[in-house]
Amino acid sequence: MEEGKISSFQLTRLVMSFMMATGLIFPPLRGVWQDSWLTLLFGLAGGIVFALIYTTLCLRFPGQTLIEIYETVFGPIIGKLFSVAFLWYIFYLGAQASAIFITLLTTTVFTMTPRYVFSITWIIVSVYLCKKGIEVIARVNEPLLLVTVFLIVGTLFLVLNLFDPENFLPLWNISLSELLWAGFGTITFPFGLNIVFGLILPFLQQREQGRSAVIKGLGGAALVLLISLLITVGVLGEVGEIFLFPTYQAFRMIQIGQVLTRLELIPTLNFLTMGFIKGTIALYAVSLGTAQLCKLLTYRPLVFPLGILMLIAAHQSHPNIGVSLEMIERVQPFYALPFQLLLPLLTLLVAVFRRLPVKEGQT
């Protein structure tokens, strides 16, 4: 199925990339622009709790992915049903990520270019990378993550001359219910998305380090997102909230002398780095999961057709950014919760109740 092995540090960086990808350019705000740093921390805490649950599950069933675990715990029929729904969810994530990034490119820089140009080139490279296996994905991710953090976050510091701490006042400008709702949303997007790594954890060299690696990755991603959010809010002020891509706007504001200006192409690079990695991980997870679901020997023949389907889904299910916004802000919290929290939790409870996995010699 998958012969490659990745180290725990590589896993950490994969988690970081996956969490940062859309968040960096399209922060989930839900009307709490000024206090988004607070909801980000809230989301991190929730994401860690979610991670604890499924990593416990993965540690309990060493060497099995979530798909296999569901089947072991719930039996072939119910387990497969759950798995199909779960795979659909991951498939949809990949499609959503690519739709958002394509919108970023077509609304900002490439206004005349057809959308398919981006999605087709993107899917070709993604399919190629997926076929190479998780080891190659992890290795490709390393330079791309470095580039993103240093180029995007590093360049963002150039806008600090416009930073105004007054933009954060008043500090607690939201009611508790707003905070809970926005925090809940931030848990499910982006932090809860780390459930995808339930399909990748078995390919870790040191299995017992999986949990700490995922949590470190979440922390790292939260730190980068926090820096970018603080700078964006501080620079743009209240007007930032009306922009689709606030980070992009903050880059447009950069003006150091008459020389360092018009650097707005840099955040769109995020499409080539983090967006690409996110889509590839999602595609890889779906292909691998489907192969395990159907008990295939290898996932590789599935990558290309699933990639094409993902491309079509990206265009069909996200015809415009309004749909993506509605989805992320209103629907996704409830839609994602079963897959991110309820299903792993239920599986864990049933596994404990049924005393699974059966240890050797007990049967």
Binding site: T107, V109, T111, M112, V117, L169, P170, V239
Partner: protein, 398 residues
């Protein structure tokens, strides 16, 4: 066998690379400089029917800008081409007008290098949200462009040549950035304007540019400040009140304060070298009391009388007069703002940020509270320098 497959593999790679190079060289969104009409200024008027917009674009003529000196020197045949072209187009909306301009222009209008947006008074009275919306929604225009209001036709303003700069719109932008010479103009970028539109209570201010005529030649002058309530023009501040506003905002960077000396009838020019402002509020009291503390550092710039004014007592007397002058400027701004019922100072935003609890009770009737607001001004001026001479140029023993 092995070698053959390697060769096959290699040739495949070469073929792929070759094909790829064909795909990567092109780009749908390439914008060649010679196919673009670079817009440096946009003027927005109401069309004849009073419904549509008439938009004027000041388009740079690159060859005329470059060859300007040569042709002026040669001066041989024909009239020298202006380095810009003012193109007019009408449309139901701004964007429609921009696209309609291509009926007359051989090149597509390119807005990324636009520097100023000049809005006619009538358009401003109707509300400029439709204008702002396009400018911040579209990918081309930048948020750093300056906004201006004019009582004249904006189209006419963009026709007027600048005496020093080849591109008049760039000249206007530079004119605005010279505000620190007087601090009587408040330059506002699109970003700041949009940001304040989102604040519930703060009224926007935009500089006013008018056409003047000196010695038969037309020119442009910045004067007054237009006050917007929400996105509609509500009235004007004069120059004195504009600096009053800048004092409160802490944006005064320079300028001259002319003091009338009592008794002697002479005048003293105090040069501002820097100022800060700090607002504090007594929120429990009704009517609300605000305190604005202004700290000024200044230089004795000039004087018109024979007496020496450098002695400590004289300097502290001038400091006192300066403080009074600041008070009267801020007072003027307050009076004019109260008349308009427009919170140009952002006092509401200040209360919102620093006293959120009390603000909840105030925000719904902020205009009424603002009119009744008691603002105490505490100016503190310090004269740090007196220039290069220690006494005036009069004989030593008179």
């Amino acid at each position: 066998m092995y070698e053959e497959s390697m060769v096959m593999k290699k040739s495949w790679i070469w073929l792929c690379l070759f094909l790829l190079s064909g795909f990567t060289s092109g780009c749908w969104d390439r914008k060649e400089l010679e196919t673009l009409a670079i817009v440096s200024g946009i003027g927005i008027d109401l069309a004849q029917d009073g419904e549509n917009y008439q938009v004027t674009f000041q388009i740079i003529r690159p060859d005329a800008v470059l060859g300007g000196d040569g042709s002026a020197g040669g001066g041989g045949g024909g009239s020298a081409q202006k380095p810009f072209w003012a193109l007019k187009a009408e449309g139901e909306t701004i964007f429609a007008a921009i696209r309609k301009a291509t009926f007359e222009s051989s090149r597509r209008l390119f807005l990324s290098h636009n520097e100023v947006v000049i809005i006619n008074e009538e358009v401003a009275q109707k509300g400029i949200l439709p204008v702002i919306d396009f400018l911040i929604r579209d990918a081309e225009p930048r948020l750093s462009q300056w906004l201006l209001v004019t009582p004249d036709q904006a189209g006419e303003v963009l026709q007027i040549e600048n005496k020093l700069e080849k591109i008049p719109a760039a000249g206007i932008a530079l004119q605005m950035q010279n505000y620190f010479a007087t601090s009587k103009v408040r330059a506002v970028s699109l970003h700041e304007f949009a940001a304040q539109l989102l604040e519930k209570t703060t009224a926007n201010t935009v500089p006013v540019i008018t056409i003047i005529e000196t010695d038969g030649e037309k020119g442009l002058r910045l004067e007054r400040t237009a006050v917007f309530k929400e996105d509609k023009l509500a009235g004007y501040l004069d120059q004195k009140a504009t600096r009053g506003l800048l004092w409160v905002l802490g944006e005064v960077r320079g300028g001259i304060i002319v003091l009338d000396l009592p008794e002697t009838g002479g005048k003293v020019g105090i040069e501002i070298s820097g100022a800060t402002a700090k607002i504090s509020a007594a929120v429990k009291e009704r009517p609300l009391k605000l305190l604005v503390e202004i700290n000024l550092e200044a230089i004795l710039g000039e004087k018109t009388i024979k007496q020496n004014l450098v002695s400590p007592e004289k300097i502290s007397f001038q400091e006192k007069l300066t403080e009074e002058a600041i008070n009267s400027e801020v007072e003027a701004a307050l009076i004019q703002a109260r008349q308009l019922g427009a919170d140009i100072f952002g006092f509401g935003a200040y209360l919102h940020r620093h006293h959120p609890k009390e603000w909840k009770g105030l925000q719904h009737e902020w205009e009424r509270h603002f009119r009744q607001l008691e603002v105490a001004i505490k100016a503190k001026a310090t004269i740090l320098e007196v220039g290069l001479i220690k006494r005036p140029a009069v004989p030593f023993r008179e």
